[in-house]
C-alpha cells in the first residue's frame, strides 16, 4: 500500500492509522499542517469518526468531512442510537483500504471545493469502478 500523498490538495489533517500490518501512523505535512496539528490535539472524540476498511485499517476523520456521504450522515444523525452512533466508528466490510483512503481524500477535497476552491480531484483509472460502486453505496 502506498502512502505517499502526492496530492497537494490536502488542507485538512488526515490521520491514517494502520493498526495491523504496518504499525506506524503517519501525518501529512503541508503548509497549514502545524496549525492543524495543534487543532487536532484538541480534536474531541465527538467531532471525529473512525472509518474501518474491510482489511481493518482505521481512518479517523472529521465528522464534518464524513458527512459528505449521505449514508454516513444518516448513520450518524438517525434518531435511534445505532451501534455506530454510540461508538463513533463505522465498519465497511465491503470497502477495501485503498478505496476507503481515496474516499477520505475525496471527503476533504469536497469540503474544500464547496468552500470555493475549484481544483481537480485526481482518480487513478485502476480504481475507478470500485470507487464508483462505493460512491453509490455511500451516496456521495
Amino acid at each position: 500500500m502506498t502512502r505517499s500523498f502526492s496530492n497537494k490538495l490536502f488542507p485538512f489533517a488526515l490521520y491514517h492509522i494502520c493498526t495491523r500490518a504496518y504499525l506506524f501512523p503517519f501525518i501529512v505535512y503541508h503548509k497549514q499542517t502545524d496549525q492543524f496539528n495543534s487543532q487536532s490535539a484538541k480534536m474531541k472524540k465527538e467531532d471525529t469518526v473512525k472509518l474501518i476498511s474491510a482489511e481493518g485499517f482505521e481512518f479517523i476523520i472529521d465528522k464534518k468531512a464524513a458527512m459528505v456521504s449521505q449514508t454516513i450522515r444518516n448513520m450518524l444523525t438517525s434518531p435511534g442510537s445505532f451501534a455506530e452512533t454510540e461508538h463513533g466508528e463505522v465498519t465497511f466490510p465491503e470497502i477495501s483500504t485503498t478505496i476507503l483512503e481515496k474516499i477520505c481524500q475525496y471527503f476533504y477535497w469536497s469540503l474544500q471545493y464547496a468552500s470555493g476552491k475549484e481544483t481537480e480531484f485526481h482518480i487513478e483509472p485502476e480504481i475507478t469502478l470500485e470507487l464508483m460502486m462505493a460512491a453509490n453505496y455511500l451516496h456521495t
Binding site: S78, F82, E84, T85, F92, P125, L129, M133, Y137
Partner: protein, 733 residues
C-alpha cells in the same frame, strides 16, 4: 474501436462476494424484519446501521426490492394495529397523551427505518412509483390510527371538547393540543381540514351563534362589542398557539359572521347605546372598536357610514331649519362649526381617518347647509362678526384657523355667488366704517377665496381694497392742495369707490347741510381736476361723521353718527322743535332710513340726544322731535349706531336674491356660448349638464333658467335649432 485501445484497463463484470442463493432474500429480510421490530420496541442500540443498510442495499441490488417493500408495509401495519389497540384502550383524559406519545415514537421509528432503507428510497421507489418510506409511514398511521373507527370519532370529540372547555374559561394543555394538531397537519392538509378543521368551524359557528344571541339580549352595544372583540382576540390567539395559521382567516370569519354580521343592524340601531348614541356622547373608544370590528365584515363600514350620514343629516337639518337657532347668524354658524369639529374628531380618533367617512361627512354637510337658502348670508355674517370684533386679541394662527374653518363651510355652499354678494356688502360696510380689525386677516381670507374659486371670484373684492388705498392717497393730495382754504370748515374724508367693484345701492342723495356741501364741492373740483372724464356721485348712505355738540348745562360731547344722522342733527342748530315731516322735507332722506336714524337718535337709552313727542318706541309720521337739553353721559365720545338690521329683512332678502338671479343670467349665457362655440352642435340635455358642470364652482344653475337663457340666445341669433332634429342646437358664428 480506437476508444477501446486507448483504455489501459478493462471493465470486468462485478463479482459479488455474496453468493446468490435462493434463501438469501429470505434470510436478509428476516434480519431487517427483526431490526424493525427492535426499533419499534426501542431496542435499536444493539443494531448496526451499516449492516442493516448494507442488507437493504444488497436486497435492492439483487432485485428483491419488491419483497423488501411489501415486507415493510406488512410489518409496519401489524405494529400500527397493535398501537391502535393500545390507544383505544387508554382511559379518558389519557387518550390524547397516549396518542401523542405513540405518534412521537412512531415518528422516530419511521425515521430510523427510512434511514436504513434509504437506498430503497433512493433507487427502487422512484423507479417503481411507490410511496416513499416516510410518506408510507404517515399514510399507514393515518389509515390505521386516525381513521380507525374507534379512534377517529373519539379524537375529534376530545379535541373539540377541549376547545369548548377553553372557551368557557378553563385551562387546557395547549402543548398537547399543539402536538396533536400538528400531527394532523403532518398527515396532510386534507386530513387536518377534513377530520378537524371542518367540524371545528361548525362547532365554533354554533357556539358563537348561541353566545352572541345571549349577549345581544342582555348587553348594550358597547359591552357587546367589547365581548366580541375579546372573543375575536381569543380565537386569533388560539390559532397562534395550536392551530394551523391558515385556519385563522376561516376561524375569524366564523366569529365575524356570527358575532358581528348577523347582529350588525341590531347593534347599530340599539336604543340608548347604538351608533347614534355613541356619536352624540363622543364615545371614541366604543366607536373605534365598532369601526375595527365592522371593518372585518364586507358591508359593515357601509352600514356605519349610512347610519352616521343619516344621523348627521338629521341633526343638521334640525339645526338649519330650527327658527330659534336661526335668530343669531353668528351663533348659527358657530354651531355648524362645532358640529363639524365634533364629527371630524370622531372620524380622526375612532374611524382611522377613513376617507370614505370623511366624504360621507362632507356630503352630509353639503346636503343640509344648502337646505337653508340663507346659509351663504349667515356665513358671511359670521365672517363679518369675526373680522369686526371677534378676532381682537387673538393670535395670527387662531385667526387662520377660524378662517380655514369658514372656508370649509364655504366649500359646502352650492350658491357661492350668493355668498359673494353678501360678502361684498359686508366687506364694504367694514371698509367704509373702518371697522376692520385686521387688514391681514381680510387679505388672507381673500387669498383663500381666490385659491378656492379663482381670480374672477375675488377680483372685485380686491378692487375694493385698492380703492381704499388710492382714496387715502387722494385725500392726502387734496389736503395738501386745498387744506388751507378749508381749515375753518368741517374736515372731510372722501373714499372714491369704483362703480362695479362695490355693491351698488340705489343712489338716494340727501340734502347735505350747506357747511358740508361747500367742502364737498371743493373736493369734487379737486378730484375732477386730476382725473378728467369721471363722474362723482355721493353715497350719503354710507358715510359717517363726528359732530361736536354742546348741551343744556354746557357739557360737550363728540358724537359719532352716520351722515344721515349728522344731517338731522345739523337741522337742530337752527330750531329746537322739528316735526317728522319737516325733517323729511329738509333732508330728503328715504323714509325707512330716516325712521331708523331718528329711532337711534331719540329712542336709545343713554344716547337720546333728541327727545320725541309722544314718547314711544316707534317712529310715527306725525311725531315731533326736540333737542334734548337734559342729555348727559359720562363719556365724552359717543357712538350713535344706527339701528341696523344685521340680518336682512324679508324684502331686502328678496331684493338680494333677485339681484343674484339677474347676475346669474349673463354667466349662464356666457357658459352656453362658450360651450356651443367649441361644440358647434349639441342637444339640450348635454348643454344643461355641461353648463351645470362649468358653473358649479359658483352656483347650481336651475335647468329651467338654462332653458330660458337658451331661448333668449336663439332670439338674439347666437344659436338656432337644428332643422331636422329639433332637440339639437347649432352655434351661429
Amino acid at each position: 474501436m480506437s476508444a477501446q485501445k486507448k483504455r489501459n484497463f478493462q471493465i470486468e463484470a462485478f463479482k459479488h462476494r455474496v453468493v446468490v442463493d435462493p434463501k438469501y432474500a429470505e434470510k436478509t429480510w428476516k434480519i431487517l424484519e427483526h431490526a424493525i421490530h427492535e426499533i419499534y420496541n426501542h431496542n435499536a442500540s444493539g443494531l448496526s446501521f451499516e449492516e442493516l443498510y448494507r442488507n437493504a442495499y444488497n436486497m435492492v441490488l439483487h432485485k428483491f426490492g419488491e419483497k423488501l417493500y411489501s415486507g415493510l408495509v406488512s410489518t409496519m401495519t401489524s405494529h400500527l394495529k397493535e398501537i391502535a389497540k393500545f390507544i383505544e384502550a387508554s382511559q379518558g383524559g389519557l387518550f390524547l397523551e397516549e396518542l401523542n406519545r405513540k405518534w412521537a415514537e412512531h415518528n422516530k421509528a419511521l425515521q430510523m427505518i427510512r434511514d436504513i432503507l434509504m437506498y430503497m428510497d433512493r433507487t427502487f421507489i422512484p423507479s417503481t412509483h411507490k410511496t416513499p418510506v416516510h410518506e408510507l409511514g404517515l399514510n399507514l398511521w393515518r389509515d390505521h390510527i386516525i381513521h380507525c373507527s374507534k379512534i377517529h370519532k373519539r379524537l375529534q370529540d376530545t379535541l373539540l371538547e377541549l376547545i369548548q372547555l377553553e372557551r368557557t374559561g378553563e385551562v387546557i394543555n395547549r402543548g398537547l393540543m399543539r402536538n396533536v394538531i400538528k400531527m394532523l397537519m403532518d398527515l396532510g392538509s386534507s386530513v387536518y381540514q377534513e377530520d378537524f378543521e371542518k367540524p371545528f368551524l361548525d362547532v365554533s359557528a354554533d357556539f358563537y351563534r348561541l353566545e352572541s344571541q345571549q349577549f345581544i339580549e342582555c348587553c348594550d352595544c358597547g359591552d357587546y362589542l367589547k365581548k366580541a372583540e375579546k372573543r375575536l382576540n381569543e380565537e386569533i390567539e388560539r390559532v397562534s398557539h395550536y392551530l394551523d395559521t391558515r385556519s385563522e382567516p376561516k376561524l375569524t370569519n366564523v366569529v365575524e359572521k356570527e358575532m358581528i354580521e348577523s347582529h350588525m343592524h341590531r347593534l347599530v340601531h340599539m336604543d340608548n347605546s347604538g351608533l347614534v348614541n355613541m356619536i352624540v356622547n363622543d364615545k371614541y373608544e366604543d366607536l373605534g372598536r365598532m369601526y375595527n370590528l365592522f371593518r372585518r365584515v364586507s358591508t359593515g363600514l357601509a352600514l356605519i357610514r349610512d347610519v352616521m350620514t343619516s344621523h348627521i343629516r338629521e341633526i343638521g337639518k334640525q339645526l338649519v331649519t330650527d327658527p330659534e337657532k336661526l335668530k343669531d347668524p353668528v351663533d348659527f354658524v358657530q354651531r355648524l362649526l362645532d358640529e363639524k369639529d365634533k364629527h371630524d374628531k370622531i372620524i380622526s380618533s375612532a374611524f382611522n381617518n377613513d376617507k370614505t367617512f370623511q366624504n360621507a361627512l362632507n356630503s352630509s354637510f353639503e346636503y343640509f347647509i344648502n337646505l337653508n337658502p340663507r346659509s351663504p348670508e349667515y356665513i358671511s355674517l359670521f365672517v363679518d362678526d369675526k373680522l369686526r370684533k371677534g378676532l381682537k386679541g387673538v393670535t395670527e394662527e387662531d385667526v387662520e384657523l377660524v378662517l380655514d374653518k369658514v372656508m370649509m363651510l364655504f366649500r359646502y355652499l352650492q350658491e357661492k355667488d350668493v355668498f359673494e354678494k353678501y360678502y361684498k356688502q359686508h366687506l364694504a360696510k367694514r371698509l367704509l366704517s373702518g371697522k376692520t380689525v385686521s387688514d391681514d386677516a381680510e387679505r388672507s381670507l381673500i387669498v383663500k377665496l381666490k385659491t378656492e374659486c379663482g381670480y374672477q371670484f375675488t377680483s372685485k373684492l380686491e378692487g375694493m381694497f385698492t380703492d381704499m388705498k388710492t382714496s387715502q392717497d387722494t385725500m392726502q393730495g387734496f389736503h395738501a392742495a386745498v387744506g388751507a382754504e378749508i381749515a375753518e370748515g368741517p374736515s372731510l374724508t372722501v373714499q372714491v369707490l369704483t362703480t362695479g367693484s362695490w355693491p351698488t345701492q340705489s343712489v338716494t342723495t340727501c340734502n347735505l347741510p350747506s357747511e358740508i356741501l361747500g367742502v364737498c364741492e371743493k373736493f369734487k373740483t379737486y378730484y375732477l381736476g386730476t382725473h378728467t372724464g369721471r363722474r362723482l356721485s355721493w353715497q350719503t348712505n354710507m358715510g359717517t361723521a363726528d359732530v361736536k355738540a354742546t348741551f343744556g348745562k354746557g357739557q360737550k360731547h363728540e358724537l359719532n353718527v352716520s351722515t344721515y344722522q349728522m344731517c338731522i342733527l345739523m337741522l337742530f342748530n337752527n330750531a329746537d322743535r322739528l316735526s317728522y315731516r319737516e325733517i323729511e322735507q329738509a333732508t330728503e332722506i328715504p323714509a325707512s332710513d330716516l325712521k331708523r336714524c331718528l329711532q337711534s337718535l331719540a329712542c336709545v337709552k343713554g344716547k337720546n340726544v333728541l327727545r320725541k313727542e309722544p314718547m314711544s318706541k316707534d317712529i310715527a309720521e306725525d311725531d315731533a322731535f326736540y333737542f334734548n337739553d337734559k342729555f348727559s353721559s359720562k363719556f365724552y365720545k359717543l357712538k350713535i349706531g344706527t339701528v341696523v338690521a344685521q340680518k336682512e329683512s324679508e324684502p331686502e332678502k328678496q331684493e338680494t336674491r333677485q339681484r343674484v338671479e339677474e347676475d346669474r343670467k349673463p354667466q349662464i349665457e356666457a357658459a352656453i356660448v362658450r360651450i356651443m362655440k367649441s361644440r358647434r352642435v349639441l342637444d339640450h340635455n348635454n348643454i344643461v349638464t355641461e353648463v351645470t358642470k362649468q358653473l358649479q364652482s359658483r352656483f347650481l344653475p336651475n335647468p329651467v333658467v338654462i332653458k330660458k337663457r337658451i331661448e333668449s340666445l336663439i332670439e338674439r341669433e347666437f344659436l338656432e335649432r337644428d332643422k331636422i332634429d329639433r332637440k339639437l342646437y347649432r352655434y351661429l358664428a
